[in-house]
C-alpha cells in the first residue's frame, strides 16, 4: 500500500462540522454512509461561495459571473473525469444521481439497442435502481431479464454468469461494483473482460465504490459507469454517467429542452454533441461545482488511503460484532473483498427496533430492505440493520456501536 502519509482520521473529522452534533445526549456516531455521506466544510464553503459570489446560469451568459460559473461547472466535469481516469471530460454527463444515471442509460442506450428476445443480465445483489429501469425496458421491448445469483457468502455465482452468456443472448450486463447491503466488492474488471468476449456491453453501478476506493474506468474497461455525488462528500442532486465516447455519440437524447439543442425548428431539431446532448434545461450548477470540490478533497486524502482506512475499520467491526452473542452478519467476512458495509441482525430483534435502540444512543444506522428486496428474499430475512463506514469513522465509534448492540440485547433479553 502506498500509505506514505499516515492517515489522520482526527484531522479529517475536523473538516466535518456535523460530527460535533449531539443526538439524544450523545455525540453523533454516523454509520449510514452507504445512504449518504456527510459534507466537509470545503464543500459547504464552495456552495456558499457560488451563491454569494458568482451564481448565474451557465453557457450562454455574456457577462462576467456567468462566464465564471460556466468555467467552474466545466472544470468540475474535468475534475470528475480525472478522478475516475476517463479519457475525455466529454465522457462525463451530469445527472441527479445514480438512479437518474441508470434511467438515462436505459432510455438513451437501451431503447435503441435492446430488442425482442435480447437478454439483459443483472445480479441478485442489485439496488432497486439497477433493477427497475431494466424491468421497464424489458417489458417495453419484450427482452428477457437474467440474474446472476449469489452464494451463501454473498459472492456472485460465476457459473450463472457463464451460463447466461451461453444460452441467453445477453447484450447488456448491469452489475453493482459493490453491494450496498453486503459490502461485497465484485470482480468487475475480470467480468467485464469476459462479457466483452461475448460482445456484451457492461454497466457498472459504482455508487458504493467511487466514494471509497480508486476506480479507473480505463482499467476496468467498462462501457458505462454510474455514481452519485452525495455519497462522496458532495451535495445531493448531482451524479454522473460515464460512457465511452463512441457510445455517447450514438446514444439518443434523454430529456428534450433547452441547452441540449444545436438548432430548433418547428418540426425538428438537432442536438449538441455529448455530454450537452444529455443535459437539458438548467443543470445543477452548484451541485456540480460542489462535487468538483468533493473530488479535490478526496484526491488530497488519497483514495488508496481512504480504502485502507475503511478496510481496517471493517476488519475491526467484523471482529468486534461477531463476538456479540446472537449476532448474524450477512455477506463476506473478509474485509479484502468487502467495502465498509456490515449488515446484521441480532437475535430476533427487528431491524427497525434495532435502529431505534441505536438512535437512543446517538448512533445512526439504516434498517430495512435497503432498496434491495430481491436480495432480502435470497437471504430469507425481512430486513437487516446496516452499519456503513466512511473516511471519518473511527474504531471508538465502532466500540460505541458494539456497546449499544450489547445494550439492545439486554433490553430484548436475548
Amino acid at each position: 500500500m502506498q500509505k506514505t502519509v499516515p492517515y489522520d482520521v482526527q484531522k479529517v473529522r475536523e473538516d466535518f462540522p456535523i460530527l460535533k452534533r449531539v443526538v439524544n445526549g450523545k455525540q453523533l456516531v454516523y454509520l449510514d454512509n452507504a445512504a449518504t455521506s456527510q459534507k466537509p466544510q470545503q464543500v459547504i464553503d464552495a456552495l456558499d461561495r457560488f451563491y454569494k459570489e458568482y451564481n448565474a446560469n451557465i453557457h450562454r451568459g455574456i457577462y462576467k459571473i456567468s462566464e465564471e460559473a460556466t468555467a467552474a461547472h466545466e472544470e468540475a466535469r474535468a475534475k470528475v473525469a480525472r478522478f475516475i481516469n476517463a479519457r475525455h471530460a466529454e465522457e462525463i454527463v451530469f445527472v441527479r444521481g445514480t438512479t437518474e444515471a441508470i434511467n438515462l442509460l436505459a432510455h438513451s442506450w437501451g431503447r435503441p439497442n435492446i430488442g425482442l428476445g435480447d437478454g439483459i443480465m443483472l445480479t441478485e445483489m442489485e439496488h432497486h435502481s439497477n433493477i427497475v429501469p431494466w424491468q421497464l425496458l424489458a417489458r417495453e421491448k419484450s427482452a428477457a431479464l437474467k440474474y446472476v445469483g449469489i452464494t451463501d457468502d454473498g459472492l456472485l455465482r460465476r457459473e450463472d454468469f457463464a451460463q447466461h452468456f451461453e444460452n441467453d443472448g445477453v447484450k447488456l450486463f448491469c452489475m453493482a461494483h459493490a453491494s450496498n447491503v453486503l459490502g461485497t466488492i465484485n470482480p468487475v474488471r475480470e467480468m467485464i473482460r469476459e462479457a466483452h468476449k461475448h460482445g456484451c456491453r457492461v454497466l457498472v453501478d459504482a455508487a458504493q465504490t467511487v466514494p471509497h476506493m480508486p476506480v479507473d474506468v480505463q482499467d476496468l474497461d467498462c462501457d458505462f459507469l454510474a455514481f452519485s455525488g452525495h455519497k462522496m462528500c458532495g451535495p445531493t442532486g448531482i451524479g454522473v454517467v460515464y460512457a465511452k465516447k463512441e457510445l455517447l455519440e450514438e446514444m439518443v437524447p434523454f430529456h428534450g429542452g433547452g441547452e441540449m439543442i444545436r438548432e430548433v425548428h418547428l418540426y425538428e431539431s438537432t442536438w449538441k454533441d455529448p455530454p450537452y446532448k444529455f443535459e437539458a434545461g438548467t443543470v445543477n450548477i452548484a451541485g456540480a461545482i460542489g462535487l468538483g470540490v468533493a473530488v479535490d478533497y478526496l484526491s488530497r486524502l488519497g483514495m488508496r488511503n481512504i480504502r485502507t482506512h475503511e478496510r481496517e475499520l471493517t476488519e475491526y467491526a467484523l471482529e468486534k460484532l461477531s463476538k456479540i452473542r446472537h449476532m448474524a452478519i450477512y455477506g463476506p467476512k473478509d474485509a479484502h473483498v468487502s467495502g465498509g458495509v456490515v449488515s446484521f441482525n441480532l437475535g430476533d430483534i427487528h431491524a427497525h427496533d434495532m435502529a431505534s435502540l441505536l438512535d437512543e444512543d446517538g448512533i445512526a444506522v439504516r434498517a430495512g430492505h435497503h432498496c434491495a428486496q430481491p436480495l432480502m428474499e435470497r437471504l430469507g430475512v425481512p430486513g437487516t440493520t446496516r452499519a456503513s463506514f466512511y473516511l471519518y469513522n473511527t474504531e471508538e465509534e465502532i466500540d460505541r456501536l458494539a456497546e449499544s448492540l450489547e445494550r439492545a440485547g439486554r433490553i430484548f433479553k436475548l
Partner: protein, 136 residues
Amino acid sequence: MSSIYSEIILDYYRYPRNKGQLSSPQIKAKDSNPLCGDVVEIQIELDSDSHVKDVRFNGQGCAISQASASMLTELVKGKSLDEVRKVSKDDIFSLIGGQLSVARVKCALLSLKVLKTGLYTYLGSLDSSKDELASL
C-alpha cells in the same frame, strides 16, 4: 437515555395477548406498512348488544407494531362500537408510554388504522372516514 422499549412493550412483544384467529368475526381488516413490512390483522366478534365480545390480532413486524396491536385488543375488549370509534392516536401513545421518534409513529398506529378500517367497513362508513384513516 431511557428506552422506548420498556418492560411492558417487551412483554407484549414476547408474550402477545389476544393473538390468533376467531371463528366467525363480524369485523376484520388487515394492512401492512410497506416501508417496514409490518403486517397487522384484527378480527372482532360482537355480542347481541354490539359490544366487542372477543378480539384477536395476527401479524408480524417490529416490537412497536406488534406490542401496540396486542395492547389495543385489550383496550377495546368489552367496549361498544361507539367507544371503539373514539379510540385515538393519543390512546395508543399512552399505551406505549414514551416518546416515539417520527419514523416509528407509523409502526405504532398501524393496528389502530386496521381496527378503524374494519370498523368503518362494518358500519358502511368507510368513504366518509377517509380523512381520519389517512391521518393514522
